[in-house]
Amino acid sequence: MLKKSRKREIIWGIIFVSPWLLGLMIFYVYPMISSFYYSFTKYTVISGPKWIGTFNYEWLISDDIFWKAVANTFYFMMIGVPITQLIALVIAYMFNYLKEMKSISFLKVFYLFPILIPGAILAIVWNLILNSQYGILNSFLRVLKINAPNWLESVQWSKPAIVLVGVWYIGTSMIIYTAALNDIPVELYEAANLDGAKWWTKLWKITVPMISPAVLFNVITGMISIIQLFDLPYILTSGGPSYSSYTWAMFIYDNAFKYMKMGYASAAAWLLFLVTLGLTLMIFTLSRNKIYYGGEG
């Protein structure tokens, strides 16, 4: 039997969290359930949904553009996530190494700055930088006598160009790595020094295991954000040329709002959700014995 004061606490607790719960139900749970239902219907928003069974999923499987969008999204994930995480880690390591330097805070702000700029504006700026004839990047490459590519107009270069722009978003990961590196007890390195450990050994045996939870967190959040990639390719290339930078999220957007095929878009969105969930679970399972959370002996 709960005490009266405990009961009151619970009631107040529910009252306090209810706005959030209500928001969660209205803006997340309801759309998710309804989109699952719509994924089995033909639905144009204007006329009511018409049940068509698994047809949307069957159409998706035979849709070339869908598979192009999936392949591009995986390219961005497989190439973009490792590159951005590696660069973020190297820079964070450099900051940690130079932490006694007075100007280090300024440098951190410098690297963090791009994440403060909205993606759409950043994409417009990069559109100018990557202009194949007049862009600053190609002008620089020409000075170095390097054959300047047609970044945004060529099927071969559109994806690397977007990965390049994505590198500008390393700020958040870099800050998390910096914090993780700062948290490593100095005694571990001192003990390793006494044992005569080399730089490489210290990196692999102390630094990497100690920051492994941060790496796992950054890889998962990086993967989730890249699997939903929309704004950069939408503004930089509109998914082109020839669907070479068209992503899964763009496919969902076009079908939902350009062609008004809400049922079809819902089916694609549910597949995206399932793939994201599957990949996250896979990463958790594969990394279970490789992540060091401390205090486990």
Binding site: V45, D64, I65, S132, Q133, E153, P241, S242, Y259
Partner: protein, 418 residues
């Protein structure tokens, strides 16, 4: 005190309700001079009667906003659309026919017949034409002269156009394209991939509405454009040149900045030239047809009434007001949606357009044609754009590109009819 105040406020409220006017909303994406014209018409309409008050809502992403409002059961009373979207909107059940519009005072006899036909779908009239844009080739007379061509004689056949394009193209010392002879639409946002089959005697749909993207005439048209690109150089050379294009509606427009000698565009390019390079010496002519019969692609801005609009009567009365020649002719366009007789009759009411005679002369001597009426227009256009650009940039063959379009759009049509 409060007991006395309540009935007074109630009476005032009922009084104001009784004398307030019904608000008729007109959703448009116009922002510039066209918005000013429609807004001034609404103001005038509001001042001459006291039953309705027309409010103009200028919005971006009009398609999304309109469909959202429709789904929420609160659509505008009038929607500004384009002739290409009549069939898709009808298929979605988003707009109502307005076959009775003449009862409200619209004189359909005043309009160009082809303009009215373009906004009919399965025999029903769905809109009132507001303004018209005619397409053709613009050429730079000074650059013609520089290349030794007669500046007053644009190419009149497809062979001549190909020959001129070659002659007018210049390369720099690195072998990169410096000036392009003819740009049919290399810019992915300003390209009209659906018009070309019609210049080659084809069509994108047959009389039953079936998709005919890979019909022989369509393939022939796309082959002609691939040949044009091959004549300029390699894929890399074209991508590099087009990558340097600036924003279309600016001084760095490729034609306005004189990097392209002949281009295909709507009549609005004249406004861009007047704004950013008024000294340019240019001409306008129909794009040559294979059968040498002059024709010109045309687009029409129209006003339609959405299904579920709450004030249909007010909407139709306002459309009737807009349709009066003295109002329709206020839109700054070189070619009117009205027949030439009516244009001449109301010439005093017209806003003068500097190049009107030039465009009018062309429009008078060609057969105007429009985009095909198909419920899957948006998807058709998207896939054709990809196909056309792939063909232009030498990424694929015309037959493969158009077979792919045929497959995708036929599938979309099948999905729609489920």
């Amino acid at each position: 005190m409060s007991r006395k105040l309540f009935p007074v406020l109630l009476i005032l409220f009922l009084f104001s309700m009784a004398f307030s006017r019904t608000v008729v909303t007109f959703m448009t994406q116009w922002t510039g001079p066209e918005y000013q014209v429609i807004a001034s018409m609404a103001e005038k309409f509001n001042s001459i009667q006291d039953e309705y008050e027309v409010k103009i809502l200028s919005v971006s992403n009009i398609a999304e906003k309109f469909l959202t409002s429709l789904a929420a059961g609160n659509p505008p009373d009038i929607l500004h659309a384009n002739d290409q979207y009549v069939a898709p909107l009808v298929a979605m059940g988003a707009i109502e026919p307005i076959n009775d519009i003449e009862k409200y005072g619209v004189n359909l006899d005043e309009y160009r017949k082809e303009a009215l036909e373009a906004i009919k779908y399965k025999g029903d009239l769905y809109g009132v034409p507001i303004k018209l844009d005619i397409f053709g080739i613009f050429w730079n007379k000074d650059l013609f002269k520089k290349a030794g061509l007669d500046p007053d004689n644009p190419p009149t056949s497809l062979n001549e156009l190909m020959e001129y394009a070659k002659k007018l193209t210049e390369y720099d010392q690195n072998g990169d394209i410096k000036t392009l002879g003819f740009d049919p639409g290399y810019n992915d946002k300003w390209t009209w991939p659906h018009v070309w089959p019609y210049y080659f005697g084809g069509s994108l749909i047959d009389k039953d509405g079936k998709i005919t993207a890979n019909a022989p005439e369509c393939v022939e048209a796309y082959k002609w454009f691939q040949k044009l690109s091959e004549l300029y150089g390699t894929k890399d050379m074209l991508e590099k040149f087009v990558g340097g294009y600036g924003p279309y509606w600016s001084a760095s427009n490729q034609f306005v900045s004189e990097r392209v000698v002949i281009t295909f565009s709507g009549d609005w390019l004249a406004k861009i030239i007047d704004l950013y390079n008024p000294e340019m010496n240019w001409g306008f002519a129909p794009f040559p047809s294979k059968d040498e019969k002059p024709r010109a692609y045309t687009e029409i801005d129209i006003a339609v009434i959405p299904k579920g609009a709450k004030h249909v009567d007010g909407a139709k009365k306002f459309l009737a007001f807009v349709s009066k020649p003295e109002n329709t002719l206020k839109f700054l366009v070189p070619v009117s949606v009205l027949k030439e007789d009516y244009v001449n009759k109301y010439r005093d009411a017209m806003i003068s357009f500097p190049h009107r005679d030039l465009f009018q002369k062309i429009a008078g001597g060609v057969r105007l044609f429009f985009a095909p009426a198909t419920p899957v227009w948006q998807e058709y256009l998207t896939h054709l754009t990809t196909a056309f650009l792939d063909v232009l940039f030498l990424r694929t063959t015309p037959i493969d590109a158009l077979n792919d379009v045929q497959k995708k759009v036929s599938k979309a049509l099948k999905m729609m009819s489920m």
